[in-house]
């Protein structure tokens, strides 16, 4: 059984490139092109790892994590933020125990795969 990763980003180019990196390593990748799509499909997809963008038009990645936390699913999912924002805001400090890593765009393939692999 291959490990499932869900990539959440409003930019389809980024989703596609990240998915191709991860599929090359043998992971099964599901994508969501926004926060709501992620929330709607999370239970069905049941990913082991979530790669989450922050800046998305429908809702920001931190708010998505808050909703997933309230749904009771977040403690079973590993989360890596994948964002152009250099540092998270202090107002999201309570989500610190849920976010295992934080990768800043532009990212390189080797670093991304290294950090994902460390968590799987």
């Amino acid at each position: 059984m291959t490990k499932k990763i869900m990539v959440v980003d409003d930019e389809k180019d980024i989703v596609d490139i990240v998915a191709s990196f991860l599929e090359g390593e043998g992971y099964t990748v599901h994508s969501a092109l926004g926060g709501r799509e992620c929330i709607e499909s999370i239970k069905e997809v049941n990913p082991e790892l979530l790669l989450m963008d922050v800046m998305m038009p429908d809702m920001n990645g931190w708010e998505v994590l808050r909703d997933l936390k309230n749904m009771g699913v977040l403690e079973y999912i590993k989360v890596i933020m994948l964002t152009v924002v250099k540092e998270p805001k202090q107002e999201y400090a309570d989500l610190s125990p849920y976010v295992l890593d934080y990768i800043t765009k532009p990212f390189n393939k080797k670093d991304l795969l290294k950090r994902v692999t460390r968590l799987m």
Binding site: Q90, Y92, A93, D94, L100, R118, L119
Partner: protein, 196 residues
């Protein structure tokens, strides 16, 4: 010595913990903000295979032994307590501090109290402000403090909160942290028999 970290901490610990030599002069206590016990247990097991130090999960009442690195378990605060000749790990369910449990502040405050000038506090990559007060307690007790620099951190909020309290002796890229730490351990050991 106490290490505090959260976001990015698993990768950072994989990079540095194997570089620490196994000696009988110090122990490492690690508080990492992670919600999943599975993730912390797996990390401890993997690192035990990669490290010359023994790496294990801390348990309530466990004696702190040199040459060992302990991960504090999820959802408990952890403190060191002196009982006569030995130092034990005390776990408790007191309310969260800085939104988290285990809190780095709680752990470091207790390390400062028990080990005083022999204590070393290290903050690695991480979100939030937890750990800054604990680093200050270590510094105030005469101990030594170090944080991971911004360039090698996934997130440098924890380190920067400590820097803002003016309690950080040195800021280093991740790869230089083990060597500098061991230099401090040697200095403290030669000053007097250091225990942690």
């Amino acid at each position: 010595m106490a290490i505090g970290t959260s976001t990015g901490g698993i990768a950072a610990l994989h990079d540095i913990l194997p570089e620490f030599p196994k000696t009988n002069t110090y122990a490492i206590l690690i508080a990492m903000h992670i919600i999943s016990p599975d993730v912390v247990n797996t990390t401890a097991k993997r690192l035990n295979e990669l490290c010359s130090l023994k790496v294990k999960m801390a348990e309530h009442g466990m004696q702190v032994e040199p040459g060992t690195a302990y991960f504090m378990p999820c959802d408990y605060h952890a403190q060191t307590k002196e009982y006569g000749e030995v130092v034990l790990i005390n776990l408790n369910k007191e309310p969260k501090v800085n939104f988290v449990r285990p809190s780095v502040d709680v752990l470091m405050n207790s390390v400062a109290e028990v080990f005083k000038e022999n204590s070393i506090g290290i903050l690695l990559t991480g979100m939030g402000m937890d750990g800054a007060q604990g680093m200050k307690a270590i510094k105030d007790a005469g101990g030594s403090t170090m944080v991971q620099d911004r360039d090698t951190s996934s997130v440098s909020q924890m380190a920067e909160a400590a820097i803002d309290l003016s309690c950080v002796d040195t800021v280093l890229p991740l790869e230089f942290i083990p060597k500098k730490t061991m230099k401090w351990v040697e200095e403290k050991t030669s000053n007097r028999a250091a225990q942690i």
